[in-house]
């Protein structure tokens, strides 16, 4: 464990590699976290199935590639398919739990998360799958720093989609309606906004964002049926660090998490990387809560 730690001092160039790749991974966490923040902020639902949408996005891209298309087409197609799945999910399950208590919505989305993960496991098998985009890799510093081009594309796309989302929420009529609904659903209903339609749109857009993220995950790394939960937890963590409704904060927190995770994976060994993510989340929760407790407040 400490051997790897010393390598970082002996060869500082590895740190640069870890830093760059960590930030590129972080961009995908940012994309997934946008989705979670949107549903959480507007509908007050913690969507435990958020990570499963990322996973499904990856599998949609796998199918697209099997059909013989260029993997890059997988990004929009995954987003579209996931938009439809999100819409179906809302119309069948989520609309029944929107105005109910947190307990019910948590259990329901937890059930959806199990359902989707196990369904994927049945249909596609439990193997780890990945796609080679054939885009190649850039090498810097005598080949010590390697950056796959698809990861750069992922990064750019994440930032771009973040901007589009921000503009959409700020400028478009639907975006304004979403913000109004998140501020006060009852008042929004009185003023003629169809809140159920807004909720459906919000949920589907969040699923679509995760679908795009998943498509990038399968190209830049790999997917298997059980990666959903780690992504849920990462998005959750990013959102609580950044705070709701703070898009620049989400970007910073997501990139930071990516870097932290990459360093932890290198120092502790990859088998502890998932454990690190979950323990880090608990540490963040406890720390946030401890800071608030002094002011007699608690996380809401």
């Amino acid at each position: 464990m400490f051997d790897n730690f010393m390598i970082l001092f002996d060869a500082p160039v590895f740190s640069i590699d870890l830093l760059v790749n960590g930030m590129l991974i972080g961009a995908i966490f940012v994309l997934a976290a946008y989705g979670m923040a949107l549903v959480w902020g507007v509908m007050n639902i913690i969507n435990v199935a958020q990570g499963e949408f990322v996973m499904l996005g990856g599998y949609v891209t796998l199918v697209v590639v099997k059909l013989g298309l260029n993997p890059l087409f997988g990004i929009p197609i995954s987003a579209l398919v996931l938009y439809a799945i999100g819409w179906l999910m809302y119309r069948s399950v989520i609309y029944r739990v929107v105005d109910r208590d947190v307990f019910t919505s948590l259990l329901a989305t937890f059930g959806i998360s199990i359902l989707l993960a196990q369904l994927t496991n049945q249909v596609f098998g439990a193997n780890v799958q990945t796609i080679d985009t054939g885009l190649g890799t850039w090498y810097f510093m005598n080949g010590d720093v390697t950056v796959a081009i698809i990861k750069v594309i992922a990064f750019v796309l994440a930032v771009f989609l973040g901007l589009v989302l921000w503009l959409f929420l700020k400028k478009s009529r639907t975006g304004q309606a979403i913000r109004a609904t998140s501020q006060n659903p009852r008042a929004a209903r009185i003023l003629g906004i169809d809140t159920h339609r807004i909720y459906a749109t919000t949920y589907s857009v969040s699923a679509a964002l995760c679908g795009a993220a998943g498509s990038l995950v399968v190209m830049a790394w790999a997917v298997h049926p059980y990666i959903g939960l780690p992504y849920t937890v990462r998005s959750f963590m990013v959102v609580i660090i950044a705070g709701l409704g703070n898009l620049p904060g989400v970007i910073m927190a997501g990139l930071g998490l990516g870097v932290a995770e990459n360093f932890a994976g290198f120092i502790l060994g990859t088998e502890f990387q998932i454990a690190f993510v979950f323990l880090l989340m608990i540490a963040v929760l406890v720390w946030r809560n401890f800071a608030l407790r002094r002011q007699r407040k608690y996380l809401k």
Partner: protein, 320 residues
Amino acid sequence: MKIYHYIILLLALAAPFLLPDYRTQLAFLWVMIILALSWDILGGQMGYNSFGNIIFFGIGMYTCAVFQRDAGLSYYPALLLGMGLGGIVAMLSAVILGNALLGMRGHYFSIGTLGLSIAAGELAGGWDFIGAGSGMTTPMFPGALGDRDIFFYFLFFAWTLVTFITLRWLYRSRFGLAINAIRDNEDKAEAMGIYTTRYKVVAWIISALFLGVIGGGAGNIIGFIDPKEVAFSGSTFGVWMILMAITGGKGTLWGPVIGATVFHITQELFWTLLLGWQRVALGLLIVLIVLFFPEGILGWLRQRYPQRFAANSIKPDQAS
């Protein structure tokens, strides 16, 4: 005690002799009932979704197995002491984790525990002292195979009785009223002078004790402890306990017992017909029950036949 208590007691005592082919499954029924009952302390009575209660089950299982391996005692004392030690270690971890996590409310606690249970599985899978990813095997039972099942059946039955009676007493006492108050309105409960965090931690410790002890026993009847598939198995025991408690009726004493019995029997009889789709069905079942049958079997009976099934003590509305 009422007449149906005696009937159930008699049935429970006679069951392994009436159905000698199903002794292992019957022993597992008690494990299931304890899982459901101990989840319901937080999930039903206190209104805190814990997705990570399985962690205490796993801690108890590993503690017991390590004690049996390293203590050098003969089988029975090692098993019983190991189960007790499993309970104690689980309680201690609940003290530490509870103080850290239970200051939080609602969904933060839920997601925190969800992360905790998975982290525990990952850590156990990487720790060589407890066999890492290849798991641990528990010692062989010294007697005949038939005796083994009867021994475990009555051991688990006794512990279920202890659990049930303790919880019955607790729910009727001030403690039960306090955790119900937390479920109904935590801010008000705190304003009325209840030390909510203290009550919540104590509730979790009690839950951990019952789970830790039965975890040690369950590890021995299964015979092999895998970190992710048996001990910290979020996708089997971890989900089952939630499903059983809400099927039977969360927030009631008998609900989890009924839910666990119904679920276990259904599982043993029909589960193999699903041909590998069991875990998919599990997710679907949770969604369906939460959406269409949130009050559970006992809750439904209470609404339908209030004069027969309503609780003796005054309970607030089940909707938390």
